[in-house]
């Protein structure tokens, strides 16, 4: 939303006394985030009101050679607009100035002095679109010589366009999101009321709101339009449309757009809107001022659509109904959409846009002016379903107060200088909201302040609240336009905000001297990251939690077991991942392609799938996994795994033949890792065809473990470590065994043979030249805990081991 500071200053005189930068700062600190501010004074610099002294057609062109009076010496300009004529007042962009329409763009266009068809042309006479004050490019703007500026001066050649039209302004860009709950601030008046409050000034309510207050107070002489005539309004469900007010106006003459460029066009342009026609402009101006959108129907068309009767029926759309909107778009309606109908025939998509069948045009002599409120819940869905984000629906979806409809309609009549021929108002019986009661202690306790009851009262009353006090108690009546204030905390917010949160003295809470508990999983994750990145040289990655079903199919996961995102951004991000390894494989490919050849990626993150079921809260059970993917084979992964367990201080894992692994593991090159009672996960190589499908041309090994399981793994204990006091003996041992012989059985046998000693058995090599046998070599070092072994004893030990190996495994010692 865009807010003109000049308009605010008109409503809040005190704001003129505050430095602009300070004012913007205060608005940002106490009302709403100001995303940016645009200095229109700069934007419209060096643009002048000029009088066209002469305009001669240049033969064989559409151009005119003009002499203009810009306040001093006549200037020559070539102008291509068909409406340029002698004696008119126009807007002239002086050489060196930037064309406003290009001002905030990537390529600002600077006007120069140049030759056109051999004639010197200095600057340009501008059309509304070039000035960024309208869409009109049919001709240059013409300024009414009778026009007076806001400070009462008559326009004259040489005056700047900014002076003439009040363009010397700062336009604020307001973040709508932070006003979601403030329908009142979507009107200039509401915004200005807040500015007054921020400056500590009482806001002088304009007539519309004075009227509203009188109505709310039950004054019979409120000044709002009284119902008259026979216009019939029917609302099928009051929750859809809390209030529908309408007035019929008949014009003596069809209201026509002035040939002159108007201040209204400028007013609308400052809000980012465009002048269209006098009636539409009036509805838009009132909406911008009050936040209450209006819509005008052509009365005669309305009657024809309704079959000769002017009856307004508000209802939801029926399945299959369609409506052609003002912008020509045909919308297929759904049962949530609210429709305005003429005797049951759709004429407008309520709150969003009018229908083409009742559009006002150059011949319209009679209009129905609608001022209504609709269910913001329905409109929100309408907005999403049809992608309509008009200024009107933006306001309606904030929940405009029902009390505002008739006062705004009354103001419209005043501005049209017409008495409506018919007025109808369909509204619920108003129920007054009970005052909110709270104490000064409540306010100061929540804020951490020491504001007095007078400060609180004044602050609230400045912005339209009525406050009764009794000792330390406040009884706060909420003005009708504040649909967001319901509970004492809402009132506290008003006081804190308007007096400035930044004035609250900072404190620190007193804390009991208890330590925060360590979360085991969090500690494990931190330790893992230290180990995997810092000691095992892996790269930590984060990949999306959503994957494509294509990837799942490639790796052999059942996409149906995944939670599917119904509104995913792309098919690539459709399913919640079941495991992390496939995401890593995807990234392996990317990195291999860019030239990395030897690396290991890991990620710690959450996974879920249908088959894990729901937990006690009835939400999907989730697990935290660690997944590792590396260039290498099973043994590389296994070594990393062992090292990781070692660094974590956990028991050395045992590897079991993998029976049930995720489909992407090459089963015979994979193992289930267990430690104690904990089944940690699968370590293994990725299937060749999975790698091929992912265009990975190197072997890749992976493991993925459930961290909750890892927490169950027993701690590695160094049991009764003894260091040797006597000489250590070293022996190498190589045995030839059958090719299919399990390595671990041989190593265990050797270790058992040394069990009484202080010994280490280190595998040295596995050598397989023929297909039937392989040679396993070990390096043994051992010493006796109590004596020096003599050669006979050493020989006995070795012989015993060798015999064992030969007998048990048919091994041959080499």
């Amino acid at each position: 939303m865009r807010i003109s500071l000049n308009e605010i200053k008109k409503l809040v005189p005190a704001a003129t006394k505050v430095e602009t930068s300070e004012l913007i700062k205060l608005i940002g600190a106490r009302l709403v985030e100001v995303e940016g501010s645009f200095d229109w004074g700069e934007k419209y610099k060096n643009i002048f009101v000029v009088k066209v002294l002469s305009a001669e057609a240049i033969p064989e062109t559409h151009l005119h050679l003009c002499q203009i009076d810009a306040g001093s010496e006549p200037v020559q300009v070539v102008c291509g607009a068909p409406n340029v004529h002698e004696g008119m007042l126009a807007a002239w962009i002086k050489p060196g100035a930037i064309v406003p329409a290009t001002y905030d763009t990537a390529e600002p266009f600077e006007i120069g002095a140049r030759k056109l068809r051999g004639y010197d042309s200095n600057g340009m006479l501008a059309a509304a679109d070039e000035l960024d004050l309208g869409d009109d490019h049919a001709g240059i703007i013409e300024i009414n010589p009778e026009m007076v500026t806001d400070d009462g001066r008559q326009v004259a050649p040489g005056m700047t366009l900014a002076e003439a039209f009040g363009l010397d302004d700062i336009i604020l860009d307001i973040e709508n999101k932070s006003l979601t709950h403030r329908p009142d601030c979507f009107g200039l008046i509401g915004f200005a009321r807040e500015v007054a409050g921020i400056l500590g000034e009482k806001f002088e309510e304009p007539t519309i709101f004075e009227m509203l207050k009188r109505v709310e107070n039950g004054d019979t002489d409120s000044g709002v339009l009284a119902e008259t005539g026979t216009l019939d309004i029917q609302i099928t469900d009051q929750t859809l449309c809390p209030r529908y007010s309408a007035a019929v106006f008949e014009f003596n003459d069809v209201p026509k757009s002035s040939k002159y460029f108007t201040k209204t066009a400028v007013f609308l342009a400052k809000a980012g809107m465009r002048a269209i026609s006098p009636i539409v402009d009036l509805t838009n101006v009132l909406m911008l001022e009050t936040g209450q959108p209006l819509h005008a129907f052509d009365y005669d068309k309305f009657k024809i659509v309704g079959g000769g009767e002017a009856r307004i029926i508000v209802r939801t759309a029926r399945k299959g109904e369609e409506l052609t909107l003002l912008d020509g778009k045909v919308v297929k309606l759904n049962e949530n959409d609210i429709l305005i109908t003429s005797n049951d025939r759709p004429v407008a998509l309520a709150g969003a846009m009018g229908g083409a069948n009742t559009e006002i045009d150059d011949t319209t002599k009679k209009i129905i002016l609608e001022s209504a409120t609709f269910s913001l819940y329905n409109l929100r869905k309408t907005q999403m379903a049809h992608g309509i984000f008009s200024e009107a629906i933006t306001r309606f979806t904030k929940g405009q107060p029902a009390s505002l409809t008739l006062p705004v309609l009354t103001e419209a009549a005043k501005r049209l200088s017409l008495t409506p021929v018919e007025v109808a108002d369909c509204r619920p019986t108003a129920k007054a909201m009970a005052p909110i009661n709270l104490t000064t202690a409540q306010v100061n306790n929540i804020l951490g302040t020491q504001y007095s009851i007078d400060e609180m009262t004044r602050t609230l009353e400045n912005v339209g609240f009525t406050v009764k006090t009794d000792g330390d108690n406040l009884s706060v009546s909420v003005p009708a336009w504040r649909t967001d204030v319901h509970i004492p905390e809402d009132v506290v917010e008003e006081i804190g905000r308007l007096l400035g949160y930044d004035n609250i003295p900072l404190q620190l809470p007193m804390r009991p001297f208890t330590g925060a508990k360590q979360d085991n999983l969090l500690t494990l994750k931190n330790n893992l990251r230290d180990i995997l990145s810092d000691r095992l040289n892996m790269n930590e990655v984060l990949t999306y939690s959503f994957v494509s079903s294509k990837l799942q199919e490639i790796v052999g996961e059942d996409p149906k077991d995944s939670y599917a995102i119904v509104n995913s951004i792309s098919p690539e991000l459709q399913r919640f991942r079941q495991t992390i390894a496939p995401s890593l494989l995807d990234k392996m490919h990317d990195n291999l392609k860019t030239g990395f050849s030897d690396f290991a990626l890991y990620e710690i993150n959450q996974i879920t799938r249908h088959s894990l079921g729901l937990n006690t809260e009835n939400v999907p059970e989730m697990k935290t996994h660690l997944a590792v993917a590396m260039v290498g084979d099973f043994y590389d992964a296994k070594n990393i795994f062992n090292n990781m367990m070692m660094e974590l201080g956990l028991a050395r894992p045992e590897y079991h033949t993998a029976e049930d692994t995720p489909a992407y593991y090459e089963k015979s090159h994979s193992a289930i890792a267990k430690a104690g009672d904990a089944t940690l996960g699968v370590v293994g190589e990725v299937k060749g065809r999975v790698l091929r499908a992912l265009k990975i041309e190197v072997p890749v090994a992976i493991f993925e473990i459930d961290l909750e399981e890892l927490l169950k793994a027993p701690v590695r204990a160094v049991v009764s470590l003894k260091l040797s006091k006597f000489p250590t003996v070293s022996r190498d041992l190589t045995v030839q065994v059958k090719a299919e012989q399990e390595f671990s059985a041989i190593q265990e046998t050797i270790e058992n043979g040394l069990i009484e000693l202080i010994a280490t058995v280190e595998p040295v090599s596995i050598y397989q030249k023929e297909s039937e046998t392989k040679n396993l070599s070990f390096h043994l070092s051992f010493s006796h805990p109590e004596k020096t072994l003599n050669s006979e004893e050493i020989s006995d030990i070795m012989v015993k081991i060798e015999r064992e190996l030969t007998e048990k495994f048919d091994a041959r010692v080499i």
Partner: protein, 316 residues
């Protein structure tokens, strides 16, 4: 150089020859003479050591300190791992909270309407729910769009602290998701850290005081803060907190950084969690982690974080 050494050596030799003269001198002069010779010899020996050291230094071949390794040797290959910058920033932050006495629980990545909206005082169908651009699964579960989805759990889980006369002080890091178009400054997947504090006397002054502290520790300097009003259905009053741009990020006391959304916990939120809002008050806050990492490393593209590219990861 060697000539100089040789010269000194000759001088020492000559001096040594002088010793023979001692015997020829009268007894009473011998002592003084001996001392003089000794003195001269010591001086020469000093000179010799210095000259030798100088010669040795001069003989050392200079190396190219700008080269990655010595000539004719295999260049050293250093393989190092890396931690993800987002996780690194998050750990730092959690470490600060932890030292301040906050418990930590992690946010889940798939949740339901109740935790994401209802328990947070979002009326059903309210447009405020739109602001979160949530994803949904076929079953109606929601990959949470904010870590506030854990507030109800944090409040109920640590409620017993209040019964024991203590406080609830929890922070909740987590991965969150928003259905928005991805560009250099928008990601559909990012990280947040939430905080919840409840006690008998919590107030806005404390809220701003505590969070100012957090950022002061995080950036290692005193910082000015300011606020702007915000709107969240689950806090009342609500504000956004900005910090002065810290020196570490090139701040010169002029710029401001929007860091957190926060506010006093709405009484309905406390009530839903079974905490009596007339007896206890609380404040809650949340902010993005991606932003902290982007500011720190002057990154211009948020998409790098989940790109999985080693070109990026290896820099950290």
């Amino acid at each position: 150089m060697p000539e100089k050494i040789e010269e000194i050596r000759q001088q020492i030799k000559a001096l040594n020859a002088e010793y023979a003269k001692i015997k020829t001198l009268p007894v009473e002069e011998r002592k003084a003479f001996g001392q003089k010779i000794n003195h001269q010899r010591q001086a020469l020996e000093q000179q010799l050591l210095a000259a030798e050291a100088e010669a040795e230094d001069a003989a050392v071949e200079p190396i190219d300190i700008t080269a990655p390794g010595a000539a004719n040797k295999a260049l050293p290959k250093i393989k190092r791992g890396s931690k993800h910058p987002l996780m690194t920033e998050l750990s730092r932050l959690l470490d600060i909270y932890s030292r301040m006495g906050f418990d930590i629980i992690e946010a889940r990545q798939l949740d339901d309407e109740f935790h994401m909206f209802e328990s947070l005082n979002f009326p059903e169908g309210h447009p405020a729910r739109d602001g979160y651009d949530t994803f949904r699964t076929e079953e109606g579960f929601i990959p949470p769009a904010h870590t506030s989805t854990m507030q109800y759990r944090a409040l109920t889980r640590f409620k017993s602290n209040l019964d024991k006369g203590g406080q609830i002080a929890v922070v909740i890091p987590g991965r969150v998701f928003r259905n928005e178009d991805v560009d250099a400054t928008h990601e559909h997947t990012f990280y947040q850290c939430e905080g919840v504090f409840v006690s008998k006397d919590a107030n806005m002054g404390q809220m701003l005081g505590v969070l100012k502290q957090v950022f002061e520790v995080y950036y290692g300097q005193e910082l000015n803060i300011k606020t702007q009003p915000g709107y969240f259905p689950f806090t009342e009053p609500s504000v956004e907190m900005l910090i002065e741009k810290p020196k570490a990020l090139g701040g010169k006391g002029d710029g401001w950084l929007e860091m957190l959304g926060m506010g006093m916990i709405h009484p309905n939120v406390l009530k839903t969690a079974g905490i009596d809002p007339t007896e206890y008050r609380g404040f809650a806050w949340g902010g993005g982690i991606d932003r902290l990492a982007m500011l720190k490393h002057q990154l211009t593209d948020v998409r790098y974080f989940e790109s999985g590219k080693l070109e990026f990861l290896e820099k950290f």
